[in-house]
Symmetry: C4
Subunit: 205 residues, 4 copies
């Protein structure tokens, strides 16, 4: 049990942080479902239950949107960590901030689903889209932490790759900010744009 070479040790630490982060993404995405259910009092008939199940469509919609968003965030997180050679305090703090936001995604999701059909709809969409602006900012800060100092990124990473990732992170942040701004004027358009952005990510990335 001699001293482990520090290079491998550093790499192992980074993998460890990533494994922990993966766990948070995985639990957050599965917890989205936890409060989805139908509650009925009094006599229940097939007709009443069918209506109750169908009436919950905003909850299902919010679930699907958040599931895809968290899954895309996980893929983005993984792409970013694949480039890291080691981690330092700034990585730890910015990644911690990101995880803190990801773990709380069930909250804006629930809010969106519950209030989509009320007159509080605009507020719910603003809250939801604003929340993903925060997540984009946390991603951007993590990438700053990764590129701000020498020796954090793997030596094989080229300038071109760095620029491309920076560009992708910036596009993500700007798109989310635009969607957030649109939500103040037209909440439905904001949700539609959010959906269009997925298609973009899934087809081009």
């Amino acid at each position: 049990m001699e001293k482990i070479p520090s290079e491998i040790q550093l790499q192992k630490e980074t993998i460890r942080i990533e494994t922990f982060s993966d766990g948070v993404f995985c639990i957050a995405v599965t917890l989205l479902s936890i409060e989805i259910g139908v509650e009925l009092h009094g006599d229940v008939t097939d007709k009443i239950l069918t209506h109750a199940l169908l009436a919950k469509w905003p909850i299902y919609l919010a679930y699907v949107i958040s599931f895809v968003n968290v899954l895309l965030a996980w893929i983005g997180h993984h792409s970013l960590f694949k480039m890291l050679h080691k981690s330092d305090n700034s990585i730890l703090i910015t990644n911690g901030l990101l995880l803190m936001l990801v773990a709380l995604v069930p909250f804006p999701t629930k809010t969106l689903g519950e209030f989509l059909l009320t007159d509080g709809f605009k507020t719910a969409v603003i809250f939801y889209t604003g929340y993903f602006v925060l997540i984009s900012i946390a991603f951007r800060l993590l990438w700053y932490a990764a590129t701000g100092k020498a020796g954090i990124l793997m030596t094989g990473i080229t300038e071109k790759q760095i620029k491309q990732t920076t560009r992708n992170e910036n596009i993500g942040l700007i798109c989310n900010a635009i969607i957030f701004a649109v939500a103040f004027g037209n909440p439905w358009l904001a949700l539609a744009l959010s959906f269009a952005m997925w298609v973009y990510w899934l087809v081009f990335a």
Copy 2:
């Protein structure tokens, strides 16, 4: 820290997606238990508590059925991923769809358990069995994604193995569709058939 050979890298990516999927299956199956409990107000005696515990049998039945279903889905998912050499966007999307459905299994389970003894019983069984038709379809799409393009499956996989898996996937989908159809006429028969299908899987697969 030179460039990792892309063959191993591709394999590692696939393992990573599978680990994440395993996490979702594992959490989904454990979350099934989360709302099971007895609530009593006023004076509680041994007799009242015993009756309350026994009266929850539909909830326990739904728990057992879903636990076995998700466990079988996990085994099927694993058999499928064992054949993958690498993953691409179609794998990612179809697998994401499958996970989205698996993570939400607590919802139809809860619905089945809660409304099994009400007049909304048929609707609950239709919803439950229909949900597993969706899961079968997601599995089928994932297998399409795996076999539709060259280079996704491992080179060791023979034509015969592929045909056998396709056959198994189709049988699973057809069985679930039949059970779903039966549920419209005779919900109890549908649940019994669902149970018979497990025995088939556990004995023959």
Copy 3:
């Protein structure tokens, strides 16, 4: 990507089942805490909150007992799986049964905590201790499945080790059955015996 030697493949399958099982144990143990909380309506003062927090002691006691029980079950599960060379259908089924019970431990725990101070106390203890008899039986069946056929256990395992494990499993089952029987006459004594059993396991195993 040639065919992987079947020996290693078998071993890998067993590790995979164990990892999944570990996940279920880990989530089940952490979910025990999920509904613990104090709810107060109207004006809350320091005195009221202090009393409310202290009055929940049966919930805390149930949490501690279950946490230790699940942790001990995890250690037992791990010792058992360390001896397995490969797994087959009987292992899969008996292990699935065990996990199904472990994942539902929050239910008897909650019941014990909630009704410890009511007149339904005896029923709650009978339910709780009976539940752990079921878990012991599942363990015993898993061990049957491991020893009933040749080739499941690792070749390094001696007859003596097998006998010792069989003896431990039997002692565990008998102890839990005795505690269960005692619960019908004297619930508090049953809980005390349960506690004494831990000390035995922690000191001698």
Copy 4:
């Protein structure tokens, strides 16, 4: 499948315990978010929803404080386990105690968030800060278990490293005890000190 050399086996056992512990930390931290949500009855307007979301700030504050605390505890736990060569019963028991406390962090967190704006505020802060004194004690006991006997720590660990960790553990315990004591006099100051302690850990550790 010969007997695995006991050295590697011991190391593997330690890794296994750490993986399980990581799971508990990861789930506990993600579960913090589970009950955060806004419930509104009657007509909901944008104004009402906005106010309801903003009024929940103590819940958000409690979430952030606990998330950071659990994350720091995870980092501390990992640093400690990195030094372990093998584990024994004392490690198992003290680590189990620590996990039992970590898994229950959502409870004091919820209590702090819910009663921060009530007259039960002081009790909530005392409970919360006292809870983290317990966690510090569990950490201290784990470290006692690691250093009390020869052969538990890795051979590469120097006396200096041991002393430094002992010092860190002691400082952590004393700080948490002081914060706890302050909470009896000035709860807000206690929360501010708690925050200051993070900055210390994040900058100096």
